[in-house]
Structures are given as structure tokens and as C-alpha cells.
Amino acid sequence: MPPTALIAEDEPLLAQALQAELAQAWPELQVLATVGDGRRAVDEALRLKPQVLFFDIRMPGQDGLAAAAELADAWPAHEAPMPQLVFVTAYDEYAARAFEAQALDYVLKPVQPQRLQRTVARLRQALAPGTAPAGDALDAALAQWRRLLSAAGGAPSGGASAAPLKVIAASDAGGTTVRMVPIEEVLYFEAADKYVRVLTADREHLIRTPLKQLLPQLDPTAFWQVHRAVVVRAGAVESVRRDDAGKMHLRLRGRPDEKIPVSRLYAHLFRAM
């Protein structure tokens, strides 16, 4: 069976050019569809179940990062192996900086044939049958996605920042008072629209700093990202449960009534010892 791919790229000429370059570099690859926005990228990927995804980062609808994060949770892993993810990006300040120069799961636009050759070589190797047992393959694919998303998302992966935040300056619901919230009181952060909600045991505050800028300022041993939109205090996690549909949720001490979703990308954090 020939390898299959999906291209998500909003600029028609660039999508066409990538397809042409791929035809040269990987003649047997079958491009199942080309889509122009992040929502259709998710829908078509779920429908066609390709083996490789080429995602542009800046796309209308939702960007490539959000599309990939959504897909990671929605992917029916029992039906088809997780696809290999490749980001295709023009000069994007944070992406270009964050990706290691040698990483082969991103390609810079305009696509250079030699560079694409190397990425294709890596993809062929990853798709070769028998490289890993099924369960490990899923873990390996999730690890690849996680690494890629955190690199492109701008947060340095794993590395603690020089001076972790001690207090969060948050405005109250009315927006007239600024409350200083000691970081020890924060149970979790949740991104919501234009704000990030800061939740303590008995209160809720709003801040404007996006989660991805906040994350590098948090102590990575104390706070874990468990979802694209949620960062929790690891020590406050009381239990993690998987429901019948296979989705994971966690409960926090101090906020017992809330079920917090755990993305499949971060499920490895809660594997039983």
C-alpha cells in the first residue's frame, strides 16, 4: 500500500509547490487531500486517516498548532496509527528559534529540495513496518507531536526558567482592582478566549498573559501542562480517571467539583508507577 499524506496550507501556490516538491522527493507518496484551513485539516485528517500530515502553522480558522492538538485527542488510535506530523512554516520568529536546526519534522518555506529529501528519508524510516511494537509506536508518535508542539508553541521544552514567578498579578472580575496571588495558592490555570483564568481553592482571577508566555515562568516540577488550555499544580492532583470513551480527566484537591480534561498528549504524565 502506498504511503498517504494530507497537506494543510492556506496559500494555494505554496500548497501546490509543496505537492510538486513532494512528487519529486517521494514519488510513491499519495496526497489524499489539500486543505486551506485548520478546521478542515482536522476533519479531513480524521476522515482520510493519512500516514503523514504536512501542516502550515499560520492558518485561518485555527492555526496548525491548535489543529494538531485537537487531532491528537480525537485520533482513533485503535483504528489507525497516529500519523507523522511535519510543520511547514515560513519564517516564523518563534518557530525558527525554537526548532533545533537539525529537527526533521519541520520544513521551512520556500521548500528546498535537499532539505525535503532528508525529511522524507526520516518519514520513510518511521513508516517502515516493524520498527516498533504497536503500543510503543503510539507513545513514540505522541512524544514526537509533543516535542514539535512545544517547540513551535514557543515554550522551551522542559528547561526551567531562571526566575520562576512568585506572585501572579491578576485583575478582579470588575477589572478595577489588581490582586496579588501567591503562586502557592494557585491550583490551576486555564486559557479562556482572551484571558487566562487563575484558580485558587476559593477564588478565580483573570490575567492577560497567554498560557504559552506564562508556562516558561512556572516551575516545571510544580506545574504541569495537561491540556492545550490547562496547566495544573501537580501536587494538587487528587486522581486521574479514564472514562468509557477513553478520555482522561483529573480532579484536584481543593476544587473537588471540577473535572479537568487531560489531553492524550500529556497522558504519559499520569502513568501508574
Partner: protein, 370 residues
């Protein structure tokens, strides 16, 4: 007057002492001249003793004023070009000078007397008249000296302010250039161009020409102060055409410029940041894209006719609660620098308004006198 704070001038340690010493040397020179003058006024006096008197009075006067100004709250002082404490403003400066002169007259005379004795040993009866004369001379010399330092300081402060304003202007220009030559836009355009060369060479050439004139306008635009509105619209057409190659059918645009307004002078690339915002924040996030309409027209106004320039899009619209509060992003900077350029040219008679449109989309309106 500009409200810019004066630029902090970094100087090596000891420079302040050097400045003070230089001030004192000016004072010594003035004292020598005054001594020549007082010696000539009455024959029989020795230049040596007059010089001692003059130096004693001058030194005390200088000392009181030079160091006395540090007792005045800095907020009542001019900004010193040497950094820090300058000449006290208004009556405080005059009062300090007066105190300096009075203290110097009595203190200096006493000091000189204890050093070299009376200045007029031959004619002690003239004491009272000499004393009055000495006071006049002290007042005159003190006033001349203070005025000299005051004007000198003011000129230097002005020069520092001008230098700071020039530096701020070039910084703003640089930042403007950076937003116009946004790397993402540039590299994506080049990627498209590369793709076009293979599939449609004539269109690739046309795109390259557009890119050429866009880059030229951007680089020149930060220098020239005005160009005709027709040229402004041509540059917008270059930019929109480049974006259309990239976005395809997701970008539709119209440029409406009445012939009679073609020659109206406008600051170069004034509208560019507004069109860029319309694409970036209006059209790009939408899957279906949208339409941009740029238009110019005359509108009547109480103080004569005004030019109205409008950039309207059918995009995502303004976020609830108006414009984003942050001003660090390129969008915030774009709108802000359009405002600043308008203000520089027309003061309060120019306006830029951003409004969300019913049914989605945003409209930016610029108004200024024709």
C-alpha cells in the same frame, strides 16, 4: 515643547568635578577682569590686592550659587546637560543669585581684609564710598557671571534635547521599517514567488515588479515626508496585489480614488499599516477571507474641507471591548504610528478612528484638513 524626558547622559566618574572646575576657571577669569577694572577706577590701588578682593568675592559668590542650587528641589530646576541638577527656574534662580551676591560681598570683603588688609590703605576716609562702589561692582559681576552660566547651560540643555528628539525619531523610523518589512510577509512572498517561477513565469515577473516597487517605497518612505495620494494608492495596490497572489480568492479589494484628489499630499505609506491590519487581523483569521475597500473623499467641515481616507474590511472585526490593550504588537504599533504621524503634520485637526462594523469587519477612518 516636547514632553520627552531628557536622555540620561552617561559620563565617566569625575566628569562632574571636571565641569565644576571648568565653571570655577571661568569665574577666576572674570575676577581677573574685574580686578583690572577696579584698579583702574582709583589710582593708587595695587592690582595684587584688588585681585585678592575680587577672587575672594568671586569664589564665594560662585560657591554659593554653584552648590546652593543643589538645595533647590530638582523639579524646580532646568535639566542640566551634564545630567542632573541644572539652574533653578524663575524667581528661585534670581533669589539664589541675590543671596550669592550678598553673601559674597560681605564674606569676600572680610576674607580679603584678613588676608591682605584694607584695599585702600592710603585713603581710609573713602571707606564708605568704596564699600558702595564695591557692592555695585560685585552685583554687576555676579549678574554677568550668573547670566553667562544660565544662557550657556540653557543652550547645552537645548542641544541635548534636540539630539534626544532626533534619536527618538530615527528609532521610530527603524521600528516602522521593521513592521513594514515584516519577515513573515517577506519570506512568504518569496516562497510564493519561487513557486510561481515554475508554473507561471509571466505572473512571477509581474509579482517581482510589485515586490520591487513595494520594497522601494518602504525604504524611501521612511525618508520622504509627503507624496501625492495617487502614489499612496499605487503602493497599496502593490501590497494588496502581492497579498492576493498569496491569499488567492480569499482576498478581494477595491481602491477608490477620485481624480480630483490624486495630487493631495499625504505622508508616504500612511495607510499601509491600516491595510496590513485589515488583512492580518480581519481577513487572515477567516476561512472565507473577505473584502478590503480603501477610499478617499472630500467632506465638508466647520473649518473648511477635510480629506477623509477610509480602510474598511469585512473581516473578523474588533475584539469585544475595542482595540486590544497591548501596544507592543505590530498591530498596536501600526495604529499608534499612524496617529503620531498625523499629529505631527496636523496637530489636533487630524483624527484616526477605528470602529467595528455591524455584521463584522472593521473600519479605520482618517480625517485631516485639505
Amino acid at each position: 515643547m516636547s514632553s520627552l524626558p531628557p536622555s540620561p547622559v552617561r559620563r565617566p566618574p569625575g566628569a562632574a568635578a571636571l565641569y565644576t572646575l571648568r565653571h570655577y576657571l571661568y569665574v577666576v577669569a572674570l575676577c581677573c577682569v574685574v580686578a583690572v577694572f577696579t584698579t583702574m577706577m582709583k589710582p593708587g590701588r595695587s592690582y595684587g590686592s584688588q585681585l585678592v578682593y575680587s577672587l575672594c568675592i568671586g569664589t564665594i559668590c560662585w560657591g554659593v550659587i554653584e552648590f546652593g542650587r543643589y538645595l533647590v528641589d530638582p523639579k524646580h530646576c532646568h535639566n542640566s546637560p551634564d545630567g542632573g541638577h541644572g539652574w533653578p527656574k524663575g524667581w528661585r534662580g534670581l533669589l539664589l543669585t541675590a543671596i550669592g551676591i550678598v553673601v559674597a560681598f560681605y564674606g569676600g570683603n572680610w576674607l580679603a581684609y584678613t588676608l591682605v588688609g584694607s584695599s585702600t590703605p592710603l585713603d581710609p576716609q573713602d571707606g564708605a564710598r568704596d564699600s558702595a562702589m564695591g557692592l555695585y561692582v560685585t552685583i554687576a559681576a555676579g549678574a554677568i557671571g550668573s547670566f553667562f552660566f544660565y544662557t550657556r547651560g540653557r543652550a547645552a540643555a537645548m542641544a541635548a534635547k534636540i539630539a534626544a528628539a532626533e534619536r527618538d525619531a530615527s528609532e521610530a523610523q527603524l521600528k516602522l521599517l521593521e513592521t513594514q518589512l515584516e519577515p513573515h510577509m517577506l519570506f512568504n512572498t518569496l516562497a510564493n514567488l519561487r513557486a510561481l517561477i515554475a508554473v507561471d513565469p509571466p505572473r512571477a515577473i509581474a509579482m517581482l515588479d510589485r515586490l520591487n516597487s513595494y520594497l522601494r517605497a518602504t525604504l524611501n518612505g521612511s525618508r520622504a515626508t509627503q507624496h501625492p495620494l495617487a502614489q499612496e494608492f499605487d503602493r497599496l495596490a502593490d501590497y494588496l496585489e502581492l497579498m492576493q497572489v498569496r491569499m488567492g480568492e480569499r482576498l478581494r479589494y477595491t481602491l477608490a480614488l477620485p481624480d480630483e484628489l490624486r495630487e493631495v499630499p499625504v505622508p508616504p505609506l500612511l495607510l499601509q499599516p491600516l491595510v496590513e491590519n485589515a488583512i492580518r487581523h480581519g481577513l487572515e483569521p477567516q476561512v472565507a477571507g473577505g473584502e478590503i475597500r480603501v477610499s478617499a473623499r472630500r467632506v465638508p467641515h466647520a473649518e473648511g474641507e477635510q480629506l477623509m481616507l477610509e480602510v474598511a474590511d469585512t473581516g473578523a472585526g474588533l475584539p469585544a471591548g475595542g482595540l486590544p490593550e497591548r501596544h507592543d504588537g505590530p498591530s498596536g504599533f501600526g495604529v499608534q504610528q499612524v496617529r503620531e504621524r498625523l499629529h505631527t503634520l496636523h496637530g489636533d485637526r487630524a483624527r484616526l478612528e477605528m470602529a467595528g462594523l455591524p455584521g463584522g469587519g472593521t473600519r479605520a477612518t482618517i480625517l485631516f484638513p485639505l
